[in-house]
């Protein structure tokens, strides 16, 4: 004999109902379903259609079982959600970065390859972030199911944020700008040691290695100062005129040496240029001209943008 739809429905429902009450709920639910089917066949439906309709009406067995067991269908409910969210933000915004930096520094002291140190830092930070998110959520989900009391102090007005100043510079903007700057800084050692272009003597640096003792430290200093500017801007919540001045100075400090080096063919490694026929045969000139134009346009746009935003914020 084949099992009826009702039998299968009962099995699916009772699977997640606490065992001591299973038998009784089964008997009652079976009778209720039979009553509902009878009610429909009395209206002229055939028995098979009536059974299907009744079970469809009762809905997902897992949901019905949750109602019998008085179980909430949520991972983290409103009682815990805000505590979970706040804890997660605090932990994720600090620990992965700290661990990443520590691992990066330790790797840099033991390995002669800066690329390794950066890779180790990024992957460790990512793993730590995933672990934190998983374990915090898992603990809160268990507390939700056990009904643990958090015993947090009641909220009162003393907990209001200090100044309700409108924030123009968002955290996302600041973070993405800093990530971009860090990647640019990382590019400088990477192109020296880990460049994709190899020659018989090993990896071929893209930038002229002679610059390490002259201009590259200047560029590094400007990039680090730019990170400082992003942080200062975030803390000030908006563009101020002094930030605009610093930004313009930093743009100049980067653009002027870069343009000068490009125009004098001193930026790229001569060995690197020699490896590409099209660079040797006049291509270098085109690359330099395009780069100079791009640097000028980007710098001017960046300064104008900061002036516009500072004027808007000053209003």
């Amino acid at each position: 004999m084949t099992t009826s739809l009702t039998d299968r429905y009962l099995t699916a429902t009772l699977r997640s109902v606490p065992a001591p009450r299973r038998e009784e709920i089964a008997t009652e639910l079976r009778a209720s379903i039979a009553d509902m089917i009878d009610g429909r066949t009395a209206d002229g439906h055939d028995a098979a259609t009536a059974e299907r309709e009744v079970l469809n009406e009762l809905g997902d067995p897992a949901q019905l079982a949750a109602r019998y067991a008085d179980r909430r269908l949520q991972l983290i409910g409103p009682a815990y959600y805000l505590a979970w969210q706040r804890l997660l933000i605090v932990l994720l915004s600090t620990i992965p970065a700290i661990v990443g930096v520590v691992v990066g520094v330790v790797t840099a002291t033991t390995s002669d390859n800066p690329g390794n140190a950066i890779g180790a830092a990024v992957s460790t930070a990512f793993n730590v972030a995933v672990q934190i998110a998983f374990w915090v959520t898992a603990v809160f989900a268990v507390m939700e199911r056990l009904g643990t009391q958090l015993n947090l102090p009641e909220w009162n007005v003393d907990q209001l944020p200090d100044e309700p100043v409108e924030r123009v510079i968002s955290l996302t903007d600041a973070c993405s700008a800093i990530v971009f700057l860090v990647l640019t800084i990382a590019f400088l050692p990477w192109q020296q040691f880990q460049s994709v272009i190899s020659s018989d003597g090993g990896r071929l640096p893209i930038l002229d290695p002679a610059l390490w003792t002259s201009w590259i430290p200047v560029f590094l200093a400007v990039l680090v100062a730019s990170i400082g500017l992003e942080i200062a801007k975030y803390r000030a919540r908006r563009w101020t005129w002094s930030l605009v001045a610093v930004n313009a100075a930093l743009n100049l400090a980067f653009a002027v040496p870069a343009i000068w080096l490009l125009l004098n063919d001193r930026l790229l490694n001569p060995d690197f240029v020699a490896r590409f026929a099209w660079l040797r045969d006049g291509g270098l000139d085109i690359v330099a001209r395009i780069s100079v134009t791009a640097i000028i346009l980007i710098s001017i746009w960046d300064v104008i943008d900061s002036v516009i935003k500072a004027r808007r914020a000053a209003r």
């Binding site: 009450r21 009784e24 709920i25 008997t27 009652e28 639910l29 079976r30 009778a31 209720s32 039979a34 009553d35 509902m36 009610g39 009406e57 009762l58 809905g59 949901q63 019905l64 109602r67 019998y68 008085d70």
Partner: protein, 113 residues
């Protein structure tokens, strides 16, 4: 114009608590799940089967209903009846419902429109 969805949500909210009151009143006369469902629907309390059946068990666990198995008919049925504790709780709830009705009437009376 308020959308139908919004209106439906508010009406559901309004009705939610009344299912318990209606069940406690109806079960002054003992009855089983499906028959109660029919009676409630017939008296203008449409309720889903998958809400009512678990609700009856919960009210029984809370002591507001008592139950008894009837095995005399063709299939065994569990009959629920409002308990003494259920009757006391029902009195409180009906008082409260009346108070809401009175307050609302006074509010409608006093409010300019």
């Amino acid at each position: 114009m308020v959308s139908d969805d919004v209106l439906r949500t508010h009406l559901q909210e309004l009705r939610r608590g009344t299912v318990v009151v209606a069940s406690l009143v109806a079960l002054r006369r003992a009855d089983y799940g499906y028959a109660l469902l029919q009676r409630l629907t017939g008296h203008g309390f449409p309720v889903d089967a998958n809400t009512l059946y678990p609700l009856l068990r919960r009210l029984e666990e809370q002591g507001l209903l008592t139950s008894e198995w009837n095995t005399e008919e063709s299939r065994p049925r569990k009959f629920y009846r409002t308990s003494d504790a259920g009757e006391r709780a029902l009195d409180r709830m009906l008082d409260d419902l009346a108070a809401v009705q009175t307050s609302l009437a006074a509010l409608i009376e006093g409010a300019p429109r």
